[in-house]
C-alpha cells in the first residue's frame, strides 16, 4: 500500500503540470513549486604558509619573490589583496599574480625610529589549495634584493644573500 500511494501522487502531479482540467477533471491539481536542489559547497582548503625572514646585517629595505605551483592554487586574494601579514609592524607590499608568483617588498614602518627592518620576523600568507597540498618547503624564493644604509646615510643595494627567507 505504501508504494502505491507514492505512485498515485506522482501521477497526479503529472496531470496537474499538463494544465489539465480542460477535459472535465473535476478536481484539477494546482501546480506546486519544486524545491531547488541544495548545493553543497566544497570548502577550499586554506593553509597558512609561514616564511621566516632574517639577516645578519641591517636591512633598510627588502624584496623577493615567492614562487609556487599555480596548479595547486594561489594565495588568498589577488594582486595587492593577497592575504599576507608581517610579524612586525614594518610596511609590506605584496602582489600575487595568481599564476605562480607572489612579489613581496618591505620598508621600515618609521625610519625616524628604526632605519632598518625589524628582523628576524615572519611573513604569513594564506594559500588556497585548489589543486593539492602546498607547504612552505615547496615555495621558491627568488629575486632577493636588499637595501643597506651606506656611509653617506643613503640606501644602496646590498648583498642579497645576507637576507635569509625560508
Amino acid at each position: 500500500m505504501r508504494g502505491f500511494g507514492v505512485f498515485t501522487t506522482i501521477a497526479l502531479l503529472i496531470a496537474g503540470c499538463g494544465g489539465g482540467g480542460g477535459h472535465g477533471d473535476p478536481n484539477p491539481v494546482q501546480p506546486t513549486s519544486t524545491p531547488a536542489p541544495a548545493v553543497t559547497a566544497t570548502p577550499i582548503p586554506t593553509v597558512n604558509l609561514v616564511l621566516q625572514l632574517s639577516s645578519s646585517v641591517g636591512v633598510a629595505a627588502a624584496s623577493f619573490s615567492v614562487g609556487y605551483e599555480a596548479g595547486r592554487g594561489s594565495f588568498s586574494g589577488s594582486g595587492a589583496q593577497a592575504q599576507c601579514q608581517l610579524g612586525s609592524s614594518d610596511t609590506l607590499a605584496v602582489n600575487d599574480d595568481d599564476a605562480g608568483t607572489l612579489k613581496v617588498a618591505i620598508l621600515p614602518a618609521d625610519p625616524t625610529r628604526a632605519q632598518n627592518l625589524a628582523l628576524p620576523t615572519t611573513l604569513t600568507c594564506s594559500f588556497d589549495e585548489t589543486g593539492g597540498t602546498v607547504t612552505t618547503a615547496g615555495l621558491r624564493i627568488g629575486d632577493k634584493k636588499i637595501g643597506v644604509i651606506d656611509g653617506n646615510g643613503v640606501v644602496v643595494a646590498g648583498d642579497s644573500s645576507r637576507l635569509d627567507v625560508r
Partner: protein, 439 residues
C-alpha cells in the same frame, strides 16, 4: 604662497646614479624597493638618493616628497599599478638652427604650419612645415638698433591674423627708442609688407638697457606691451612707480581704437598703463586656458620674480623700485608694501641672473604637463615649472636635467608657443629653437 626656487634642489645626477634619474627611480637603475626606501627616508627628512634627484622622488610634483610617494614607489617595486601620476619625462627636439640671435618664437592663431622666429638683429624668420625659409618674413635690420638689450624684441599676431594679416612688433629704433608698430602680411603669405602700416607710439629710452620687449594679445583681444623702467640701475628716474610714463609698465591698447584707451586701464597718468611697478618685463604670457597673466620681471642684483595676475585684474603695482622680488629695495628695509602685489615666485641670484618667463602648457603632446607654467633663467639656463592651483602655487620642480641633460644650452632668451599650444625654447647664443617633447 611664495615659492623660493633656490630652495629647490638642482636635479643633478647623484653620486649613486646608474643612469638618469626618472620618476620613482632616483638612482636611475629601475624602480625597486631601494628607491622606495630612499623616497621614504626623504619623506621623513633622512639622507637619501632623493637629495640629488628630488623631482624623481616627488612623483606628482605636489611640492614635497611625502610618505604617499614612498608607498607609491613600493607598489611599483612589486609591479602594482601606481597611485600617483609621474611628471612626464621631457626632452628638447631641435626645430631650427642657424638663426642669428633668436629671442622669440611664436605662431599665428589658427596656423599650424608656420612658426615665426624673431632675431634680435632685426629679422623675423619663417619656419614653414619645419623648414627655415631662406627669405626673412620681415627684415627690419635697417630700421632698428641692435646689441645688448636693444633690437627687434617682440612679435604678436592679431587674433584674426589668418584673415587680417595684421601683426605687431616691438623694437628699438636706430636712436635706441622703443617703437610699437603694426605690419601686414603681403599677398604672398610667407612674407610681410616691408613698411609699417602704423606706428602706435615711440617711447624715448633714457638708457640702453631695460627695454622690455614682449607683446601679446590678451583674452580681451587687446594688445599688451611690456616696457622696462628705462634702464641704468636701480630705476634712477623712479619710472616704475610713476604713472605718467610708459616705462616700467605693462601697457594695454586697443589696436583698432588707438589712441583711445580701452576701459579698465589704471588712469590718472599715461592712458595706456595696465600694470606698473615693473623693472624689465622682458617676457610675459597669458594662459590660453584661463586668461591669467604671468609676468617675469627681471630683477636688479638680488632677486628674479614671477608675478601672477588673474584674468582681467590689472591696475596692479608690482613693487619696483620699492621692492625687488619680495624684498625691500628702496628703501632697503622698512619699505611700505601697501598696495603692492608681491610675486608668487622668486629666486636669488645664486640660481641665475635674469628670469625668462614662459607659458602655461596647454598643448596635446604632453598630457601630464598640462596646466604647468614653465620659466627659466638666461644666465644659468636652469628651467623650472610650477602649477597655479587656485590661490596656491604648488608643485615647483626643476626640469633642467630633464630638458638639458648635457647642459648644452647657451642662453635661454625666450619660450614660445605654437598655434596648438606646444611649447618651444629659444637659445639665443647658439641660434637654436627647440620644441619641448615627451621623451
Amino acid at each position: 604662497m611664495l615659492l623660493v626656487v633656490a630652495a629647490v634642489g638642482h636635479c643633478a645626477r647623484g653620486a649613486y646614479a646608474a643612469g638618469a634619474p626618472s620618476c620613482a627611480d632616483p638612482n636611475g637603475d629601475g624602480v625597486d624597493v631601494i628607491d622606495a626606501a630612499n623616497v621614504l627616508r626623504a619623506a621623513v627628512g633622512l639622507p637619501s638618493t632623493c637629495a640629488s634627484a628630488p623631482a624623481a622622488c616627488d612623483l606628482d610634483g605636489a611640492g614635497g616628497i611625502d610618505r604617499e610617494d614612498a608607498l607609491d614607489v613600493l607598489r611599483r617595486a612589486v609591479g602594482l599599478a601606481p597611485t600617483r601620476d609621474c611628471l612626464p619625462h621631457l626632452q628638447l627636439t631641435e626645430v631650427v638652427h642657424d638663426l642669428d640671435l633668436p629671442l622669440f618664437v611664436g605662431a599665428a592663431p589658427g596656423d599650424d604650419t608656420r612658426l615665426y622666429v624673431v632675431e634680435q638683429t632685426g629679422h623675423i624668420r619663417l619656419v614653414k612645415d619645419g623648414t627655415l625659409a631662406p627669405t626673412p618674413f620681415l627684415d627690419l635690420s635697417r630700421t632698428i638698433s641692435s646689441g645688448g638689450e636693444r633690437g627687434l624684441l617682440g612679435l604678436a599676431f592679431h587674433p584674426q591674423y589668418v584673415a587680417t594679416g595684421r601683426f605687431f612688433v616691438n623694437y628699438t629704433d636706430t636712436a635706441g627708442n622703443t617703437v610699437i608698430a603694426e605690419y601686414r602680411r603681403a599677398a604672398d603669405p610667407d612674407v610681410a609688407e616691408p613698411t609699417a602700416a602704423r606706428v602706435f607710439f615711440t617711447v624715448t629710452q633714457p638708457f640702453a638697457n631695460h627695454n622690455g620687449g614682449m607683446l601679446a594679445f590678451g583674452p580681451d583681444g587687446l594688445l599688451y606691451i611690456g616696457l622696462g623702467d628705462g634702464g641704468s640701475g636701480g630705476d634712477p628716474m623712479n619710472n616704475g612707480q610713476r604713472l605718467d610714463t610708459k616705462l616700467g609698465k605693462i601697457l594695454r591698447i586697443d589696436v583698432d581704437a588707438y589712441p583711445t584707451p580701452p576701459s579698465g586701464n589704471v588712469g590718472g597718468g599715461d592712458p595706456d598703463v595696465w600694470d606698473f611697478g615693473l623693472r624689465n618685463p622682458f617676457r610675459f604670457s597669458f594662459d590660453r586656458g584661463t586668461g591669467d597673466l604671468y609676468i617675469a620681471d627681471v630683477g636688479q642684483d638680488r632677486f628674479e620674480e614671477i608675478d601672477f595676475e588673474p584674468r582681467a585684474t590689472g591696475k596692479r603695482n608690482y613693487g619696483w623700485r620699492i621692492t625687488e622680488g619680495t624684498h625691500c629695495f628702496d628703501p632697503p628695509s622698512g619699505c611700505n608694501l601697501t598696495g603692492i602685489t608681491l610675486p608668487v615666485a622668486e629666486y636669488g641670484h645664486d640660481a641665475g641672473c635674469a628670469v625668462i618667463g614662459g607659458y602655461v602648457y596647454r598643448g596635446a603632446r604632453i598630457p601630464g604637463f598640462v596646466g604647468r607654467y614653465l620659466y627659466a633663467d638666461f644666465c644659468s639656463n636652469r628651467i623650472w615649472s610650477f602649477v597655479r592651483d587656485g590661490a596656491r602655487l604648488t608643485s615647483q620642480v626643476e626640469l633642467t636635467d630633464d630638458l638639458d641633460p648635457t647642459h648644452a644650452l647657451g642662453g635661454i632668451t625666450s619660450f614660445g608657443e605654437d598655434a596648438a599650444g606646444e611649447l618651444y625654447v629659444v637659445d639665443g647664443p647658439t641660434g637654436l629653437v627647440f620644441r619641448i617633447d615627451p621623451e
